[in-house]
């Protein structure tokens, strides 16, 4: 290596002309020292250069190592990262699977409930197309699975065109209108009760649910009870009506003249008999209410006419008891109502009769017809004995009579107000009262207006 440096890298001084021995010698020495100095200098430069190269190499090696380390580290990090995301992804997938499974389970549960529900169910989606039918429907209408599947997607108007489902056409003219407990006879023995419910979720209407409930058994029991009551009523009413007719004809003079004393006794007997008739009627009404088979035949009616007619019936009685019975329409317009005439007459009669019974002579009974919150309102106000405060909460209870009422009038079944309340509520109305014992009582009942359909 040194040789190579010598021959290649160190420039030699150029040859000088000699001048004498001494000067030659001196020149040689000078040249030698010059060469030495140059050699030393070259050596120094070399050393510096080698050192520099070595340092550079070392640095390079160090840098490389460092970079390698960094890259490795980065790689490791990336691998770890991707592992993490893989795990995260797996977890997410698992969670989703779990959710899906749970949703599926919930759906299965719901479907099982629907499938095993004791009522027939048909669900129509928000566009009124059949989305779901449960097996009970197939049962009720004697159709098979394929036939029931066929109906899916159809509107009710399509479905009723399918012969086995046609009885539903009786309930739905063409569209899915809201129906509540409409009876539908399939045949002599089978009677259904059809209801339609709108199903709403958080975002609004989800669809419509048609519920079909088999009431054949109830209908049969109802029929048997009707027969029983009919027989009992017949047994009781036969002798009572014979007594009524006989007394009436004697009192009317159809069977010859009677004297005043005979008339007085017969008249009292006639009235007792009438009370017996009322009692039987009340009992029959209560039986019907309790069995939930009170049948209402609502018709659109002018309530003013109804009340006026009733007042006329009680004018004689009021005069005899020296009571002032009046009627007034206090609202310019009273809503038209849809009522069962006989039953609403019974309600008003019960209230007026109570006032007549429990108002001392010289008192006042005023019947008014008005309006409250769009409802028709009938009020019967009297200056009677009132209802004791501590007994007011029991006044509509069956067979209950307040202590002062019993004292004032021994006759009475305690059924009148119970019946009245049931009838008013069956009409969607309300009955209430305010009473000041010993001074006055006011009974009011409101009836909702007839729907304009």
């Amino acid at each position: 290596m040194d040789k190579a440096i010598n021959s290649n890298n160190i420039p030699l001084p150029p040859a000088q002309p000699l001048s004498g021995d001494q000067s030659l010698r001196e020149r040689e020495l000078a040249e030698l020292s010059e060469m030495k100095a140059r050699l030393e200098e070259a050596n120094g430069i070399l050393e510096v250069r080698i050192n520099a190269k070595t340092r550079a190499l070392r640095e390079l090696a160090a840098n490389l190592e460092k970079e390698m380390k960094e890259r490795t580290e980065e790689l490791r990090r990336k691998v770890a990262e991707s592992e993490n995301s893989r795990v995260a992804l797996m977890n997410m997938l698992e969670d989703m699977e779990d959710l899906r499974r749970r949703a599926e389970e919930e759906r299965e549960k719901t479907m099982a409930i629907i499938a095993n529900f004791s009522d027939g169910l048909m669900f129509f989606d928000a566009r009124d197309r059949l989305a779901l039918v449960n097996p009970r429907i197939e049962n009720y209408f004697s159709i098979n699975k394929a036939e029931s599947k066929n109906m899916i997607g159809g509107r009710i108007s399509d479905i009723v065109r399918f012969a086995p489902m046609s009885p539903l056409g009786e309930v739905f003219a063409g569209s899915l209108e809201r129906v509540s407990r409409r009876e539908l006879s399939l045949n002599e023995k089978t009677v259904f009760e059809v209801s339609v419910l709108e199903v709403a979720g958080r975002a609004g209407k989800i669809g419509t649910l048609l519920i079909i409930h088999d009431i054949s058994r109830e209908k049969m029991v109802e029929k048997m009870k009707t027969e029983f009551v009919s027989i009992a009523a017949h047994q009781l009413r036969t002798p009572i009506s014979a007594i009524k007719w006989t007394l009436r004809m004697i009192l009317d003079g159809d069977l010859g003249p009677i004297n005043d004393e005979q008339r007085e006794f017969l008249d009292k007997t006639y009235k007792s008999n009438e009370r017996m008739i009322n009692l039987i009627n009340d009992l029959l009404n209560v039986t019907r209410i309790e069995e939930g088979r009170q049948v209402y035949n609502p018709v659109v009616a002018d309530i003013e006419e109804v009340i006026r007619g009733l007042i006329a019936n009680y004018e004689d009685m009021a005069r005899q008891k020296n009571l002032n019975l009046s009627f007034e329409k206090i609202a310019p317009v009273v809503p038209t109502v849809k009522i069962d005439l006989e039953k609403i007459k019974l309600v008003a009669s019960n209230l007026i009769e109570n006032s007549l019974k429990y108002t001392p002579a010289g008192g006042k009974i005023s019947v008014t017809l008005g309006e409250e919150d769009g409802n028709a309102m009938v009020e019967v106000t009297d200056t009677g004995i009132g209802i004791p405060a501590e007994q007011q909460d029991r006044i509509f209870t069956k067979y209950f009579r307040s202590a002062n009422a019993i004292k004032a009038e021994t006759e009475g079944t305690g059924l009148g107000l119970f019946i009245a309340k049931n009838i008013v509520e069956a009409h969607g109305g309300k009955i209430r009262f305010v009473s000041e014992p010993g001074r006055a009582t006011k009974f009011s009942f409101v009836l909702p207006p007839a729907e304009s359909d």
Binding site: K223, T226, S230, A233, W245, D254
Partner: protein
């Protein structure tokens, strides 16, 4: 003179009602059960029939159903006079074409006579 047939099994009611109706001036015929009643309807062809529901041998509903089969007598107005007035019964009577339904405890002979006048005048 309008002919009225009273079909009723209770003797007291028959006697009272026939006396009242005769006094008003109707020609009253009587039958004590449905079977006899149906025979008399065909024989007399009355202007109006007063018909009880619960009777031995043949009930009122059956009489009405039978009447429907004979066009000579199918359109004679029938007023039911009964001791009961169950909604199901009323419905059935309506279906069979009864003109009216009177519960005996709610009416007396005078009022029955008034009802009769209403339906005879109509025809």
């Amino acid at each position: 003179m309008e002919k009225i047939l009273l079909i009723e099994d209770e003797e007291l009611i028959i006697r009272l009602l026939s006396k009242k109706l005769a006094a008003i001036g109707y020609d009253v015929s009587l039958a004590m059960n449905g079977e006899e009643g149906l025979e008399k309807i065909k024989q007399i062809v009355p202007d109006l029939i007063l018909l009880d529901i619960v009777m031995p041998r043949m009930g009122g509903f059956e009489v009405m159903a039978e009447m429907k089969k004979d066009e000579n007598i199918a359109d004679i107005p029938v007023i039911i006079i009964s001791n009961s007035g169950q909604p199901l019964e009323l419905e059935k009577a309506k279906e069979l074409g009864a003109a009216d339904w009177l519960v005996k405890t709610e009416f007396d002979p005078k009022e029955v006579a008034e009802k009769i006048q209403k339906y005879i005048n109509k025809n």
